[in-house]
């Protein structure tokens, strides 16, 4: 039985369509990620699924409960961690946790085993006010608070935004452990590199899902050979490749440019020769495996053409 079933879900703000006729489902026990840039509609979608917003059209159910009609019952079963730090900054770590436990009619002791892994890391600071915690600590506390009532399904809206790299890694490990404990975990993130940590992902842009599958299968949909190109003058390199008639796509990734060609058959030397005639110096070229971001760009472009 799926944990989430969504059919033709649409949400508009005035003339802006935030969620555009989405249809998908998430299985019980999955670690599912929504990957997309800011403004893609992730937060709106999460708010609808957590009964905080009413959709304009379509329907959605979580744990077999309709998000509109059965919102009261659903609210006792789901855990939600909003994108913005939403705890009481003037309460201490312990007081926050106690408060959320009492709101859900439980105690810290009752569900301590569930949050133990996470909470031990912030326990030394339990007397500190939440407002004075670091970004990573805040997220750990927020996760503890969202878990304290042992939800069957957990929604986390951009939990790793604004968190340092080490804490991000730790955070994902925690999510993995929660999944192993049988909790369905639904995460959204703007970081493409986090996609591979999810069981399945949905790439989302402008309220639409570009692709939905396991990270590996998504990468397999990338059907063109990908080249990473680098030169001394990156700007000149971009100019030259843009002029190149066979260029299919070109995106900057750090110091490299990711390049695909329109032709099915071509040799890298051809491109190298062309760049040399364009006076590009210190050219470095190598074929690479596409990552999720390449796929995202390719899918986005494909959608734009349709």
């Amino acid at each position: 039985m799926p944990a989430i079933v969504v059919k033709n879900l649409t949400k508009k703000y005035g003339g802006v369509i935030a969620v555009n006729a989405l249809t998908f489902s998430v299985e019980k026990g999955e670690l599912f990620g929504f990957i997309g840039p800011d403004g893609a509609g992730k937060t709106s979608l999460f708010r609808i699924l957590t009964t905080l917003l009413l959709p304009d059209a379509g329907e959605a159910s979580v744990n077999n409960l309709d998000v509109v009609k059965d919102y009261k019952k659903l609210r006792t079963q789901l855990g939600y961690m909003p994108g913005r730090f939403s705890l009481y900054q003037d309460l201490s770590v312990e007081e926050n946790l106690k408060f959320f436990a009492s709101v859900f009619g439980t105690t810290i002791e009752e569900n301590y085993d569930l949050i133990k892994d996470i909470y031990v890391q912030i326990e030394p600071f339990k007397k500190r006010r939440a407002g004075q915690l670091s970004g990573g600590m805040k997220q750990k506390l927020a996760l503890s608070c969202a878990l304290i009532h042992k939800p069957e399904i957990l929604f986390l809206d951009e939990p790793t935004t604004g968190v340092d790299a080490v804490s991000r890694k730790e955070f994902w490990e925690m999510l993995k452990r929660l999944q192993q404990k049988g909790i369905t975990v639904v995460v959204s993130t703007p970081y493409m590199d986090e996609a591979s940590l999810c069981g399945r992902i949905a790439l989302i842009q402008n309220g639409k899902i570009l692709g939905i599958d396991t990270p590996n299968n998504i990468v397999k949909t990338f059907d063109k050979p990908l080249l990473a190109v680098k030169a001394r003058n990156t700007h000149a390199l971009i100019e030259a490749l843009r002029k190149y008639p066979h260029m299919h796509s070109l995106y900057p990734f750090g110091e490299f440019l990711h390049y695909t060609d329109k032709r099915v058959q071509f040799s890298n030397d051809e491109i190298h020769d062309y760049l040399t005639t364009e006076m590009i110096q210190q050219i470095e070229m190598k074929p690479i495996e596409p990552n999720i971001e390449d796929c995202f760009m390719a899918l986005m472009e494909k959608q734009d053409h349709e």
Binding site: T50, L87, Y88, D90, F99, A101, S102, V103
Partner: protein, 368 residues
Amino acid sequence: MKSFRGFIIKEFYHIFRDKRTMLILFGMPVIQLVLFGFAIRNEITDAKISIVDHSNDYITLEIKQKLLSSGYFLLQDDIDKDSDIEAVFRKGVVKEVIVFEQEFAQRLLRDGSAHIQIIADASDPNTANMLIGYTSSIIQDYQKSLKNQSSFLPQILPEVKLLYNPELKSVFMFVPGLIALLLMLVSALMTSITITREKELGTMEILLVSPLKPFQIIVGKVIPYLFLSFVNTATVLLLARLVFGVPFNGSYGLFFFEALLFVITALSLGIMISTISKTQQTAMMIALAGLMLPVIILSGFIFPVSSMPWPLQVFSNIVPAKWFLIIVKGIMLKGIGIEYLWKETMILAGMSLIFVSVSIKKFKIRLQ
């Protein structure tokens, strides 16, 4: 029930940890009372008056002397024609003119009544009221002394009665108004801010996704302030009694019951404000403009309702503080009981009921 208790404990933490809230809650009542009590007293001394004496007998002379030696009045011009009165007022210096009718002493002692006309510059209704009050109480005093001299009671007309606050001390008038103002401020302003703060900080999102019911969130927000408002009421009352010697003639039980009722009215108003405003700032603006000003201006706190133009008089009926003021003045100064105040009590109760049901209905179970 346990989740509800946790909620209330959390609210108390918020209040006791925010210095600004604490200052508003506990510093303001004292400051306000001292300000209104000492600084903004509107007792009048040395008000300029004129007297038109058509009689010039020994009684009018005595009354004049009494008036002028009271310390309240200074004689500005002696005029002898009624037609000069308007001209004197136009100059703007004279605030009151007293006119004795002809053969004042004779009429008073022979017929038993004589007329005094008290004309006041009503462009400042407050001062005018005060002056008329002073004048008539002095005349009454004099009249009483006449009683001892003659066998029957001579009457000086018109008789302007001033009961309940014979010394015309403004602080007596201010304390009931101040209690209303403070309760309104603490209850309505603070609750509306505390609810919108949850919206602004995003914590409302989590509260909504919790099994807490809307009325639990609302009542949980309100109970701490209900308690603190009570502490405040008691503080102000204590200060008023000890520092300013304000009388308290009625029953304390009834007083605190009515205060409770008014606090509930104010709290429900605060919640109503919070349901329509998204930020703390909006809530504060609405509460200040929409609640504080009517309490100060339209409740009879500073300006008597009876001297307002009729549209404002009608409007003042929907200001809860007006009714509370009538009740508090009644209990404190007149010492009357519920048998005289049940109508006002019912009105307040009705208002609370409407506000509470509207705000529970309007409380959004979702984000917008």
